[in-house]
Amino acid sequence: MATRFGPLVAADIRMVARDPLLAIMPFAPLLAATALRLILPLLAGFLLSRLGFDLLAWAGLIRGIIILFPGMFYGMVAGFLLLDDRDDGIAAYWSVTPVRRSGYLLARLGLFSLAAVPAGLACALVLGLAPLRLSEDLVMAILGALQVPVYALFLAAFAANKVEGLSILKALGVLDMAPLAVLLPGSVGRLGWPVPQYWAAAGFLSGLSGHPEGIPLSVQFPGRGSVLAYILSGLLYAVWTAALLRRYLRRLE
């Protein structure tokens, strides 16, 4: 099986490298993390002295959001490739090959999902801000990688072309800010419940021992609550992926 998927993965890497827009996207999260590392201390100092607001008290949340970033970007890359394939008719051709359409999707989405995990951890390392918590960071990076099929299939299922795809992505970018909803009070915070990233962030923050940042979460988990939040996040990703896959396959017919 791996020998069959190898050439598919190699072809995807080659196609990304040959597209000026797509080639830069895998590095965008790292560039964003680097920029934040340089800007945040300056901005935090400014806000503290002028407004008395301690931005660095939110470092855990910022770090969690940054770890999720690569999933979004890698999902966009996979989505644009799927969009091209759909328009060129190749997506239909795969159904008559031995790997079938399922193998083709698995190779593509698997490649970018797997790549998003180390990229998420690398973003955490580059950003710094808080001490490394390998297990929590890793769980967050895995949940971030689960965004890949969601973004990719959303693009391929709903965008008519690449230009429309870019517009859709601008709207979808809001989802990566969904973790901020954990800070919203009570019923307003529930707006974030259908969004997997919300539960990922809730788990990540719940995992911080004793909430040293004093963040007033809109949802509290007793005991091993972070695990429950992570599971909820994973389940929501699965539901969204299944629904979007169905929509995408219908569009191919």
């Binding site: 060129d88 008719g89 051709y93 008559v96 031995p98």
Partner: protein
Amino acid sequence: MIHVEALSYRYPRATVDAVRGISFSVGKGEVFGFLGPSGAGKSTTQKILMGSLAGYRGSAVTGGVEAGRADGSFRASIGVAFEFPCFYQKLTGMENLLLFSSLYPGPKDEPRALLDRLGLGEAADRRVGEYSKGMKMRLNLARALIHRPRMLFLDEPTSGLDPANARTVRELVLERAASGAAVFLTTHDMAAADALCDRVAFLVDGCIAACEAPAALKRRYGRQAVVVEHATPVGTPGGMPAAAPVEFPLAGLADNPAFLAELRKPGLVGVHTLDATLDRIFLELTGKELA
């Protein structure tokens, strides 16, 4: 190799069947033409045979496998060239060919030699995005052939090709048939069907109107006669019509004095049989144009 029995299919939400109880078979080494106008059910039938469309009624056995239960090994035994060639535009012709070839087990053709044969050797390392339609059509055939499939499904394989390349494509298809592959050819192109097919089936409104060897059809539907044509005599005043062609029945032609006299007249330019063309036969059988 392909055996279809009382095959019917209705698309979801459609009120009538797209394919209506058709039956035919294609033997090993046979080139079978599936001809008909757009919307007749050709593509639907082909999709069923390739294992891409489930939910049909009747039976469609391809390579010993019921198409509805087609698995990976079944798909490894077929080669497919869709009407509209689809490739990764940012990969070269060779990279595309190697990628798809890598999906299949077993012995394969040497890719460079195959591309050379199809006149794509020099363009092999150029990106497919720079290819003309004709070049993509030839690469399309190379992709269908490279893993030496036992069954070939070709949709309009000579569309958009110049005569020389069309001839190369026809030769390759005939070679594969000669080596034992069953070829299922879907086309509007009657000339290609005539040149390639051992048998053709005319499909109209989901039904097979006729299924026979092209030569037999042409004999049956043609007129058993020859036509003798003469050029307009030199010096004929302008505006005068050319000499009308004269028709003679084939029966007893060698002993027909009028025919022999006609041959002896000066200015003879041609003697033609009145075989029917496949287009005319289709029109006669179905009342529909093929285009």
